[in-house]
Structures are given as C-alpha cells and as structure tokens.
Symmetry: C2
Subunit: 396 residues, 2 copies
Amino acid sequence: MIQFSVSHQDAACQARTGRLATSHGTVDTPVFMPVGTLGPVKGITPDELHSCGFGLMLSNSYHLYLRPGHQLIAELGGLHRFTGWSGAILTDSGGFQIVSLSDLRHITDEGVTFKSHLDGSMHELTPERCMEIQMALGSDIMMVLDECPTHPCTTEQARDAVRRSTQWARLCKQAAQGSGQALFGIVQGGLDADLRRMAAHDLVEMGFDGYALGGLSLGEDKLAMMAMIETTIPELPEDHPRYLMGVGLPEDLVEGVVRGIDMFDCVIPSRHGRTGWLFTSTGRVMIKNAQYARDESPIDHQCTCPVCERYSRAYLRHLFVSNEMLGVRLNTIHNLWYYHQLMKQLHEAIQEDRLLAYREQFYATREISPRSAAYVEKVGAGLTGQNGNSRKEQAL
Amino acid sequence: MIQFSVSHQDAACQARTGRLATSHGTVDTPVFMPVGTLGPVKGITPDELHSCGFGLMLSNSYHLYLRPGHQLIAELGGLHRFTGWSGAILTDSGGFQIVSLSDLRHITDEGVTFKSHLDGSMHELTPERCMEIQMALGSDIMMVLDECPTHPCTTEQARDAVRRSTQWARLCKQAAQGSGQALFGIVQGGLDADLRRMAAHDLVEMGFDGYALGGLSLGEDKLAMMAMIETTIPELPEDHPRYLMGVGLPEDLVEGVVRGIDMFDCVIPSRHGRTGWLFTSTGRVMIKNAQYARDESPIDHQCTCPVCERYSRAYLRHLFVSNEMLGVRLNTIHNLWYYHQLMKQLHEAIQEDRLLAYREQFYATREISPRSAAYVEKVGAGLTGQNGNSRKEQAL
C-alpha cells in the first residue's frame, strides 16, 4: 500500500508538497512519472531512469496484457522483477489505450470488448479483469477501469461515461481488496463542471487511495482543462494524492501544480526526445535544425544532465539526422532530466512559498506555444505585461 | 603515432601477445575493434564501450565524410572530441564502403569516382583526398586507400587491384607525412598466394606502421581465407601489428589469432545484437525463439556482463519481439562484452603457451556453423574426433 502526507501548503495558491511512500521507495510530490509503455521507457535502462531522479514510473497494462501477457509476468515474479526496475510503478487501466489504439471496440455496462492492434484478436476488459491484470503485474498503484469519452463529446455521452465509470470504480474496489496494492479512482465528466463534481463526490464517498483527473488534454482548450482542474480539486480530500493523467508540457505541469495537482504522467519527454524536440530553460531546441550543425554548446547551458555535460548540439544533430539510435537515447535522457529538475524546482518553490514568483520567472525566461500563452494571459495575472515581447509564437 | 611491441610468442603456433600504444591509450593485442559507423557503435555510449573493455574502435571515413563531413568534424576538434570517445580510433579508407554501398563507381589509376548512397551526389576519392579526410578526423591509425575487388574475381582483376593498391599506398604514405597519425598498408591479392606475397613484399619495402589483410571474408571459403593468412603472415615484419580487416565470427578470431593476427574489426557483435543473435560460451542464442519466452536464466550463465547480471532471456525476448529499442541496446552490450572477453581469454592462453588447448576447449563447448566446422576439421588436428557429436549443424 501507499502512504501520502502533505508536507507544505503554498501560502498563495493551491499547490502543496508531499511525500508518497510505497513499498518500492518514497517520492516527493509534486511528481512526474515517465511512461514505460512496453516495460522500459523506450530505450532507457532502470539505472538511467533512477539517475535522472525518478523513483516512480507508469506502465501500460494494455500493452503488457497483450504482450508478453500479465500471466507470464506474474509467473516471472511481477513487473518489477521482470523489468529490473526497483522503484515504484503505477499501472493504468488500459481503458485509454483501447480507445486510442483499437479500431474496433464495444462498450457496455459490463466492460469493453476490443480488437488487439497487434494481431486482431478479440478481448474483453471488465472491471474485475482490469484488476486481475494489474494485480498480476504487481504494481504499487493501480487505476480503476474508466470510460474516457473522446473529445468533443455531448453532455449525454459525458454523463453516460461518468455513470459507467462510477459503477466500474465500485467493482474495481471490490475486486482489488486484499491485493496489498493501492487503487486510485478516476474523475471523468468531459468539460462539464457539474458532472466532474458529481463524479468526484461519488468516488470520494467510496474512498480510494488517490484520485485522478482523466479525460483531459485530449485536444480541448487549455483554459477548459484548467477550469476542470479548478472545479474538481475542491471536491477531493486534501490528505490524498491528486493525479492529472496524461499531462503534459512543462507549462501544463506548472499550471497543474499551481492548482493543487500532485502527480503527472506523460510520454512527452520520451516521445519528443525521439523526434528531436529538446526542452531547455529558455524554450525548446529542435535539434535537427541546420543552425545547430556547427554549434559546440550543450543543449542547455543551465542543465547538468550527463548529455549536456558531454555532448554538443552539433553531435546530437549529426546523430539525429543520421537516424543513429544513440541520438534518440541521449535526447530522451536529457528531456527526462529536464522534467525531473522542473518538478524539483516546483517542489522547492512551494516549500518556500514562492511558487507564483517561480511561475512568473518560468514564463519570463522561455518561449512558449501560443496555445499555452493564451491561458497564461488569462490565468497568470500580471505576467503578460512584462513578458509579452519575449514570447515568440511557436507551433505546438 | 603508435608504438607496438610483442610481449610473448606462443610456443606452439604463430600467435603472439603485444601492446599497442597510441596517444589515446594503450591496448593489449590481440585486440578486437568494434565499429562505430556514424561515430558511435550503434546505440552505445563511449562509457559503455569502455566498460565492455574496449580502448580502440574503428570509425568509417566514408560515412563521416558524407555526413556530417570531415571538415565540420575537424572544425569541432576532431573525431575524439566530436563523439566524446577518449580511447583510440582507427579509421578505414572508405574504399570498402564505396564498393559495398555505392551503386555507381568508376575506378581509375587516379582514384575512385562514386555516387553518394545518401543523396546521389558525385564524389572523388584519391589517395591524397583519402589521407586528407582521415587527417581531418584525427584518428590514431589511418588506412591507405586500396582497391578491394569483389569476390569472386579473376587473377587479372586481382593483379590489377594489387598494382593500383600498391601505387596508392605509396601516394598515401607521402600525403600522410607529418600528420602525426599512424598509417597501415593493406595487402590485397584475392585468393592468389603469389599476388598476396608480392603485395606484402612491396608494402613492407615501403614501410608502414602496421599491415592489414584486406579483401577477405567476402564470401570465399573459410579455408581459403585461412590459407591467405598463412601465406601472408611470413612476409610481414614480426615487430609490426597485423590486422585482419572485417573479420569476423568468434571462431574466425580464434583461427586468425592462432595464425598470428593481432587486430580485428567487425560489425558482427553490434549488427547481430540488433537481429537478436547473441553469443555465448556454448554457441548462439537466437533471442526471438519461443523457447525463451519463460526463461528466467541470463543469456549466458558464464557471462559477467551487466546484461547477464540483471536481465532474463524472457525479458530480452519480450523487448526484441516488441521492437523495443532497449532490447537492441542490451543485446549489443552483451555481444560486445563477449567479444572483448574472448580476446582476453585468447591473450591469457597465449601468454601461458596453451592457445591450441584453448582452441580445442573452445570448440568442445559450443555449437558452431557447418562452414566453420569444415575448416576446424581440416586445420584443428585432433579436435574433430572428440567433438563431432556435440556440434549440431547450424545455418550461418
């Protein structure tokens, strides 16, 4: 099981720091979880993930269920032993991957029937089956099966998904009893504030080890996402971790933390690493660009990661344009390092009651995307006047 | 420059141990050089290469000349600095890659005109240009430009290639003067013993820092390759390193060392790693095979590499069949480790005058390919009777 405690509440906003203790180590919150789709974060060893600072990662139940199979992993001692990762693991329910990857799926009150994206075989995921899979994997934190409607959806669809998700959450909780693994509920509700509040209320009444916000960052306006966070957070108990699923870019993490989120996961640092999008303290570096061909400087002068310590932009560009696997690996390590450092900085800022000042500085020193700029303009009071000129427009 | 000294001559065969000192460290011989086609060995960092035991690697001039360009690398401080590899580097001439990769090439006495396999642009490689490129890269050991005829070739073609290669070697030597980099000559001559002897004689008369045997392992019978080694070695000075280019499988290294070879390079450990062919003390493991799906043992119980210490065959198989990049990386590290350990064992066996006994044991404990078995039957006197039954036939 897990233990969570809030260590400090920022004086000026909803942000807080905390400690999340699992049987595979304790991590500070706010925490970012890198995603190991097939076991490892693509191309990265457990040692590298640890040395970037991570103690908690996310693994995808859907992928591991299909291949190599949860039973096989259980036979071989569970996911920690199978992958060699000694830190903590949160497994998702698989529901989101079914929606994203399977071109044939059918949802009833009993569960989801879907076609494997690998071999076309048919499978059924019920709340009980979902728990069985995650218990076989032996993760530290399991997620309930939920229905995550696509964006945009009608209020009717959102209401239906909430009803079903609440029902499934109850069945998951029953099925998980005695597993010794923590279980988080997931608040759905699309962009409907009333539905979100109702979903949160019902889940809290059932009682979970933590509460996630699902169905966000699916293409909706960022302001709408922030509004849903602001709507939901007051409904959740202060002494439990709050997890914003599948989010996001650095500015999303900053804004989520300001609003009281404790946990995040996203493929962005690793996926963007593979496409040569590198995060820095002043914005992004697209390493394939010709301007870096002769650039001897590191990706980011302020970064102390093993990649910035040793390699030039010129070399990383050469590896990237040559399609050399090492380039992808080094890019990923840099991005993971950046994400962990960002969380560390947010943690320190909260402890010192200066998160809003940190946020101001964060935007002042970097170029951000126009979409992000929009919500900063609206929600980051007093920031835009000072920094409007330094923010070049960038396509996401 | 380099310094080479023989430290021990095996009492029962041509094998010897030695020390090869470069301005980027000293390595024991016999030595195997992993190949860093585009800079790094595919997917592997300099630290990992060092920790496998390697102090000398090979880089491909052809690839680096085309991309990112030798001038750019020179501007950025040379290949060592560009790639972060602090050990020694041997660069090839590029001639072999032109033959293998360019579908349009034209060879005259002046040099080779060829079409880039990347963008179709036309380039000319002369002996002088070949030296200019390798000097810009700043390798520790350069190779002369040679003409490597395809296999099979006529005696006329082989003779022509030797004539041209000898002429180019002379021009390369002149062009390399004052570079401070070592230069090796390359003995060609196809499968014609007289041509090989003549080529070796002429190169030795010119005087190089080391001598390579080129144009072998191109598909010819392994016995024929061994015969060419046996023919050439007596023509080469004992106090200079002898390098068998582009070779090979573990059994090729054993047989080459027995015949007096000091240096080898080959893409096999890394390339085979990428295809899931893993080397072990008892033969090969094809990791994709279903028999490993639930196999908790390491690749090789006798191996002390970081992969065997930590990961099961079952996990490596999962990574491989899932196309997960980490699998390729771990496979490559294991294979590199195996190759370096093999060279260490050969070194020890020579020092203790028991190389032929080591070779006997080597074959007794593993399955080898029928092609290799053929030359073992012929050249490894007394071995076949004992081990004929333990050698299952394997396709190469």
